[in-house]
């Protein structure tokens, strides 16, 4: 078994919180893991990505070969498209639909939507709104993670467990909000695949 994930977003959006949650679940299962991150200059509002690899055998490369990623998980819609060369033919794109516009030549809404519509396998979700409705605008990443949960080749309970571990330090209220966000994303993905 293996699962290769490209995590994508804009520097400062916190894509690594998604990675660390999946990482906790993977380590508990005894899987091998490699996760290449972007640090340094690009973190200042530039495009950032993380190659996240899980397998039940020892992983060789820190980078996912092109055309071999099972999933692209993006917290920003244009960024979800930047990594299509890495996506396998039958791979899935899970992305937030809320743009982060910090460049003058950001594509217009209709063109972006048209490109997302072309993707054969996708879950496009307004994670910001869902998180806000659940009282924690900062937890949009957990909504995205929930939306990706059906594709992670793990039990949903294992991911819930990881969310509890990650946020335990911050108290029950924070844990429960994040679990609710996770669930909302999960339910959305089940209905909108």
């Amino acid at each position: 078994m293996k699962i290769d994930i490209i995590l994508a977003g804009v520097g400062g959006q916190g894509i690594l919180s998604i990675a660390s949650t999946i990482g906790v679940a993977a380590v508990k299962k005894g899987l091998y893991l490699k996760q290449a991150e972007v640090h340094g200059m690009s973190q200042r509002g530039g495009d950032v990505q993380s190659h996240f690899r899980l397998a039940d055998y020892e992983i060789a490369s820190d980078l996912i070969p092109m055309g071999k990623a099972d999933l692209i998980i993006a917290v920003e819609p244009m960024e979800s498209l930047r990594y299509l060369p890495w996506l396998a033919k039958d791979g899935w794109v899970i992305t937030n639909d809320q743009p982060f516009i910090n460049i003058p030549n950001y594509p217009d809404e209709a063109a972006l939507k048209a490109e997302l519509d072309k993707l054969p396998n996708k879950v496009v979700i307004n994670a910001d709104q869902i998180a806000k409705d659940l009282g924690s605008a900062r937890s949009a990443n957990m909504v995205i993670l929930g939306a990706a949960a059906p594709f992670l080749k793990m039990e949903y309970a294992e991911i819930e467990d990881a969310v509890r571990t990650i946020f335990a330090r911050k108290g029950d209220a924070v844990v429960n909000t994040n679990l609710a966000c996770l669930k909302a994303g999960y339910d959305f993905a089940q209905k909108n695949q």
């Binding site: 893991l33 290449a36 340094g40 530039g46 980078l63 092109m66 244009m78």
Partner: protein, 533 residues
């Protein structure tokens, strides 16, 4: 012991701690910064009173580490590749003095220049200094090599260079620890000649170093990190070094590589193992991250056989970092490229943060410079280098740490006017102070903006040696007090700040303007921490 999930950088730090480290010396630089940060946050390091405070620059870091080695304890010095240029003087001479306590020089190279101005390969520096190099291919090796490099250093009384590249430095995987070894006792170097590099001593030491080369070669031939995997298809043999080995093996997941493979992770290049491959294979593909060091060795000046493949004959690209697909192509395997990137996807370069003090500084500077035309602002290395990009387009040079001031001086000497330098607070104390002294010595007409955001911003907000000292340093170096102007870069002060810059541009001598306002990132982190309390 349970596995720890560590970045390559963190694995090196933990390996050094478990090897009985007594001090780490470093200046922040991507991709090496996380090593020192890990040690700064480590309970084990705190309990062992292990030194981990940032150094002023890579040269002072290297010298402190040599001093700790002199005193008999194990020292690690960390830097990015271009930092080794700054530390080159003590580094080169440390190979002549040799080590007393274990001395490991960690250099993190940045092929593809993710956060750097070049992609120089530090293995050449080790070859130049005639010392061993270790180059891990994965996080476990990063841990183990940090540990073993200290053993090697003390066994042969030599500094050892540990080289990683960005991908490994910033990638996480499970790492198994060994038992921690206690720190060395204080054991001051007993040979009064070892660290006195008077020519008479240095000649002797140099011959000793030359004599050690055979030992270094034997160590590399027998290293567990260098191994030969037999193959059935001898049409090609493959030499893979460091992380290149992983990219090679990625192409044989679930199968076996039919070609003989020689993995090299410890240098000098093990000649006997290489000879075996060259003798039994029709051609040799060399897969190495960085410059073609091994390939160049094998090929030689005349490339008589023409059967060495790699970066120099175009089988692999000459520049940039490797990846599994590039190696697949070199192996003649089909490309697995997915779907092309849609045309609407626009590049998203890094940018200054919202609320960044540098924005207000550049807006004021641009207005003050409008009447003087473009091309007159020399800059330096830090977040403010992003001022070269739109919408600011405020600066025209970035070469190396501290170069802004001295380049402005050289241009002023050539007759250009006005000449403005833009440098950050941390970069100024790293390498700008002597530059400023050159200008003061001749009273060269330059205007220096020292952007004081109270931190080393680009690498994530490390403490700066300049904190609270910029004004006094400039005064002490000899800048006239009335030409040291502290301003606050805020939109509401824009007109006043433009006026100050214009006044100093008109002054025919050295003036320093210090736009002072804390980095928005460290400020918000500090506020959050305060709110928690």
């Amino acid at each position: 012991m349970a596995k720890l999930l560590l970045l390559g950088d963190e694995a090196i730090a933990q390996g050094a701690l478990d090897a009985g480290l007594s001090g780490v010396y470093a200046y922040p630089g991507t991709p090496s910064t996380e090593i020192t940060e890990y040690i700064q946050n480590s309970k084990q390091a705190a309990e062992g009173h292990i030194h981990s405070i940032w150094a002023g620059n890579e040269k002072t870091a290297m010298e402190s580490a040599i001093g700790m080695s002199y005193a008999g304890k194990r020292a690690l010095v960390c830097m990015k590749h271009v930092g080794l240029n700054v530390a080159a003087d003590p580094f080169m001479n440390s190979s002549i003095t040799g080590a007393n306590g274990g001395l490991v020089v960690l250099v993190a190279d940045d092929p593809s220049m993710h956060s750097s101005q070049d992609e120089q390969d530090s293995r050449y520096y080790a070859k130049f200094a005639l010392i061993p190099t270790m180059e891990p291919s994965n996080q476990q090796e990063a841990y183990d090599m940090a540990y073993d490099a200290f053993e090697l250093s003390e066994k042969f009384h030599t500094p050892v260079l540990l080289r990683v590249t960005t991908r490994l430095a910033h990638s996480r995987a499970g790492v198994e620890r060994r038992a921690a070894r206690p720190q060395n006792e204080l054991n001051v170097c007993s040979n009064p000649k070892q660290f006195v590099l008077l020519p008479a001593n240095a000649r002797v030491h140099y011959r000793t170093l030359l004599a050690k080369q055979a030992d270094f070669e034997t160590e590399a031939e027998n290293s567990k990190y260098n191994f030969y995997k037999e193959g059935t298809d001898k049409k090609m043999g493959i030499i893979a070094s460091g992380i290149g080995y992983n990219y090679l093996m990625e192409n044989f997941v679930g199968t076996t590589c039919p070609y003989p493979v020689l993995k090299i992770s410890q240098y000098p290049v093990p000649a006997k193992l290489v000879a075996k491959m060259v003798d039994e294979c029709e051609s040799v593909l060399v897969v190495e991250e960085g410059y073609p060091l091994i390939e160049d060795h094998l090929r030689g000046l005349l490339n008589r056989t023409g059967n060495i493949k790699g970066r120099m004959d175009g089988t692999l690209p000459r520049d940039g970092e490797l990846n599994p697909n590039l190696v697949a192509k070199a192996l003649g395997m089909p490309d697995s490229y997915g779907t092309p990137v849609p045309e609407i996807v626009a590049p998203r370069p890094p940018a200054l943060c919202n609320g960044c003090p540098h924005i207000d500084t550049y807006l004021a500077l641009n207005e003050a410079m409008k009447e003087h035309g473009p091309g007159k602002v020399f800059a330096d290395i830090g977040c403010y280098t992003l001022g070269a990009l739109p919408p600011y387009k405020a600066i025209y040079t970035t070469v190396d740490m501290g170069a802004s001031i001295t380049m402005a001086k050289g241009a002023a000497d050539a007759g250009m006017s006005p000449c403005v330098a833009v440098i950050g607070d941390s970069t100024f104390t790293h390498s700008g102070m002597t530059s400023l002294l050159d200008a003061i010595y001749e009273n060269t007409p330059i205007t220096v903006l020292i952007l004081d955001n109270s931190t080393t911003g680009m690498t994530g907000g490390q403490d700066s040696h300049a904190l609270g000292r910029i004004g006094n340093i400039c005064k002490g170096l000899g800048v006239a007090e009335e030409h040291i102007r502290i301003i606050t870069p805020l939109a509401k002060n824009h007109d006043a700040n433009v006026q100050v810059i214009k006044e100093e541009l008109a002054y025919n001598g050295v003036s320093v303007i210090v736009p002072t306002r804390e980095c928005i990132q460290t400020l918000s982190r500090r506020m959050k921490a305060q709110a928690k309390k």
